[in-house]
């Protein structure tokens, strides 16, 4: 479960996220959409502890991210938009490393490393150093490392960057599986079809504020106002005032 209450982040005079409030219950797949520079990544970075909010509150699975950061972080897995790994470790070593940071015991960790390697079909190259990986391979290793400790919540920033169609399918299936098993998922994406396919609810952020928040079913009602296309809804909602 994720609760964002009046969340604001300012960099000097520039307000990147302005008074955002959201509630995502357990088991929900939430899609977070918005144009470039709207505030998606900043919101996610605040949720995961990479940025400190200027004001507001974030509670994940009952833990305040600012006041109980270790407890909150233990309950979620994060997949960043740029899958930076430690170049000198192999993919398998990186997943072990991440499991260790989540304080997993060795036997449990071994089982789960094998599980996520199978889930994301990484076996054929997982023992090479990550500096030799393609963007897609890195992205899949990041997914595996986020799933290894069986998180209650998964936070994803642009999951499809650099993925080939087969990898994209593997990632989508793995996300569906996690949601099916009861994890709540917060996913920012630019791929509208993917949001439409996977998400139970969609929020759109533009110019640092939430401008749309509704279920997938209700979204269809909005679509009929335009040409039945989510892209048209998105473009209309996020269009520049002078357009």
């Amino acid at each position: 479960m994720i609760e964002l209450t009046n969340l604001t982040k300012a960099f000097g005079s520039f307000v990147a996220v302005n008074d955002v409030s959201l509630s995502i219950p357990s088991g929900e797949f939430f899609g977070f959409l918005g144009p470039n520079g709207a505030g998606k990544t900043t919101t996610i970075k605040m949720m995961t502890g990479l940025f400190t909010p200027t004001s507001g509150r974030i509670v994940i699975n009952g833990f305040d991210v600012e006041k109980q950061p270790q407890e909150a972080k233990a309950t979620f897995g994060y997949i960043p938009d740029h899958p930076y790994l430690y170049d000198k470790l192999t993919g398998r070593e990186f997943i072990y490393y991440m499991g260790g940071l989540y304080r997993m015991e060795k036997n449990d960790l071994k089982e789960n490393v094998d599980r996520v390697i199978d889930l994301l079909e990484l076996a054929s190259w997982i023992d090479k150093k990550t500096e030799d990986y393609s963007q897609g391979m890195r992205q899949r290793v990041t997914f595996a490392s986020a799933f290894v400790h069986k998180p209650k919540t998964i936070i994803i920033d642009e999951p499809m960057v650099g993925l080939d169609p087969r990898s994209a399918r593997i990632v989508k299936d793995s996300l569906k599986k996690q949601a099916h098993e009861g994890a709540s998922i917060f996913m920012s994406t630019h791929i509208l079809e993917m949001a439409e396919e996977l998400c139970d609810r969609i929020g759109i952020i533009n110019k640092s504020k939430i401008i749309f928040l509704d279920t997938r079913e209700n979204l269809h009602l909005h679509k009929t106002k335009y040409d039945g296309n989510l892209e048209s809804v998105f473009l209309e909602l996020t269009k520049e005032e002078n357009e």
């Binding site: 990479l50 950061p69 994060y78 070593e93 260790g100 997993m104």
Partner: protein, 581 residues
């Protein structure tokens, strides 16, 4: 034209970064200015004082004084040479910029020259400043005219350093060429041995002890020129030419000055042209070779079932275990880390082997104190170099993967302390060994007992010398903790998660400032240590009681500022990790 075009844009990038306007940057620049300025002034006074002290108090004479400068310049030359070689490996063969430029219509030679110059000026800026300050201190003592400084900077110091860089890059290019047919690690081992042998033979051939003995036979006429004592092999070395230029400038033999300066400048120019010719022929092919070296390293350094394997159980907690294992693999699989470490350890070994067998036969307590302090400060300087090179970049080496720390249930402070512990435990252990080895000549003095000179017996050292040795062995680890804390803490403050090259991180502006701060601390130690060292050697020679009160004062005078530096370094280092990532 392409060359100038690229230089122009590099210049724009440099100025955009340097003149970025925010409060933090202004404070940092102001801090840097104050530290650099203070250091320059400190270096000036230090050089001026040492020159006066050696020539007026110790009275070693102009010839010996310049020969010692020559020996220091040899070490300086080798340091620049090795430093440039390691940095050039990273900048020429391991940077995305070269990868990118190779895909553009820029000639291989242009790419080489751009990276070579970038490399040289990036890592030499502080050395120029330090060199100039030292020259000023030296020149002021001798009352030298303004043209001395112009000549020394542009006609001597820059060509001297550039010559070292040219030799470094020629050796590197040839090494990379050979790497296509010979195992790379074997070559690295060979080159390390070659440098060790060079240093060993240099000090064997130009033995400072013999030189002092021979020159002192002519006392008090020690300002005269004793060139016949110089071994022929030493005369072809650039450090010898520089010391000759300085000696002849002071003694106003301008014909000799012109001769040696021309020799230095022409040699540098010739070697630069030779470097370009070699680079034009083999740079691209060696870059291709470097790609296969990368895959060689991957296969051979897996060590699957070692205690460092991630799958193996450990008695540490899971977070500590994975952090330690990650640090180990990052270090062992990064050539610029382990090669540099091996080279520094080899140099340390040579230094210690010669220091521990030093035969101290000096007659005055002042000279004994000077020798003792030189060895003591050199030990600390070595520790500081290791702390700067390997401790300063440690937080930065988390790189773009730092998100893994900030988004998982491990505190950044825990990561900080684990990394600090790795460096401090190793360096404290090393400092104890170094301190003990360098005190061997004082604790285990030998004398020839029989007719045969190879039969020795140990002399029981006096209590006063024992006190000084034990004092150093207690104080050195404390100083090590201080220096590691300073380097580590400020390494966190100046952390750069974009730069992947640890050598560039360790020679960045932040690192230079940290180095200068630690040198200020070293000078402070030297000044403090001078008094007990002289007092204890005087007590030993004149059979007096040591002044315990002075020892206690010195001990606390070292402890209190050290504790303050440790505390401040960690507070600012830990605080800096709270920044937005």
């Amino acid at each position: 034209m392409t060359f100038l075009h690229i230089l122009w844009f590099k210049n724009i990038m440099f100025w955009k970064v340097s003149t970025k306007r925010d409060v933090g940057m202004v404070i940092r620049n102001l801090g840097s200015f104050i530290v650099f300025g203070s250091f320059a002034i400190g270096a000036f006074y230090f050089s001026n004082f040492i020159t006066a002290y050696l020539l007026e108090n110790v009275r070693i004479g102009l010839f010996l004084f310049h020969r010692f400068i020559g020996m220091l310049l040899f070490v300086f030359f080798i340091t620049i040479n090795l430093g440039n070689m390691v940095v050039s490996f990273s900048t020429l063969y391991r940077t995305p910029e070269v990868d990118f430029l190779l895909t553009s219509p820029v000639s291989y030679l242009n790419i080489f020259v751009i990276k070579f110059l970038d490399n040289f000026f990036y890592s030499s800026g502080t050395l120029f400043m330090v060199g100039f300050s030292l020259l000023l201190g030296y020149g002021f003592y001798f009352n030298l005219p303004w043209h001395f400084y112009i000549l020394m900077m542009f006609g001597v110091l820059i060509p001297f350093m550039f010559l070292a860089a040219c030799i470094a890059v020629i050796v590197l290019l040839l090494l990379m060429k050979l790497a296509s047919v010979v195992n790379f690690r074997l070559l690295v081992g060979g080159i390390v041995l070659f440098y060790i042998a060079q240093i060993y033979f240099y000090f064997q051939v130009s033995s400072p002890v013999n030189m002092v003995r021979e020159v002192m036979k002519y006392y008090p006429y020690v300002d005269l020129y004793f060139g016949t004592l110089d071994p022929t092999a030493v005369k072809v070395l650039p450090n010898f030419w520089v010391s000759e230029i300085m000696y002849f400038y002071v003694t106003k033999n301008f014909t000799a000055v012109t001769g040696y300066t021309s020799l230095l400048v022409l040699s540098t120019l010739g070697l630069f042209i030779f470097t370009l010719a070699i680079a034009d022929g083999i740079f691209y092919s060696t870059w291709i070779t470097s790609l296969s070296i990368k895959s060689l390293t991957v296969k051979s350094l897996q060590l699957k079932n070692s205690i460092f394997s991630f799958g193996r159980p450990s008695f540490f907690s899971p977070q500590v275990e994975v952090m330690l294992k990650k640090e180990f693999w990052q270090f062992i699989r990064e050539p610029s880390q382990w090669i540099h470490f091996a080279v520094m350890m080899a140099l340390l070994l040579i230094f210690l082997s010669s220091v521990s067998t030093l035969n101290i036969k000096l007659q005055t307590p002042e000279l004994k104190a000077v020798v003792y302090l030189v060895v003591f400060i050199f030990n600390i300087f070595l520790i500081n170099s290791l702390a700067l090179r390997f401790g300063f970049p440690m937080m930065s080496l988390e790189g773009s993967a730092f998100w893994t720390i900030r988004s998982t249930p491990i505190t950044a402070a825990k990561v900080y302390w684990i990394k600090f512990a790795i460096v401090v435990i190793f360096l404290v252990a090393l400092s104890i060994i170094i301190s003990w080895l360098s005190n061997i000549p004082y604790l285990y003095m030998q004398k020839v007992t029989g007719e045969q000179p190879w039969i020795y017996s140990f002399i029981e050292p006096s209590d006063t010398v024992k006190i000084l040795s034990y004092f150093s062995m207690i104080v050195t680890p404390l100083i090590t903790i201080t220096l590691v804390s300073l380097n580590f803490g400020l390494g966190s403050v100046y952390s750069n998660f974009i730069e992947k090259n640890p050598i560039r991180i360790a020679s960045s502006q932040g690192a230079t400032m940290t180095f200068l701060l630690s040198v200020v601390y070293l000078v402070f130690l030297l000044a403090l240590y001078y008094f007990p060292a002289t007092m204890l050697f005087t007590a030993e020679m004149k059979d007096l009681q040591p002044d315990w009160h002075m020892l206690r004062i010195v001990f606390f005078a070292i402890c209190i500022p050290s504790a303050a530096i440790i505390a401040i370094s960690h507070v600012v280092g830990l605080h800096s990790l709270k920044r937005d990532y």
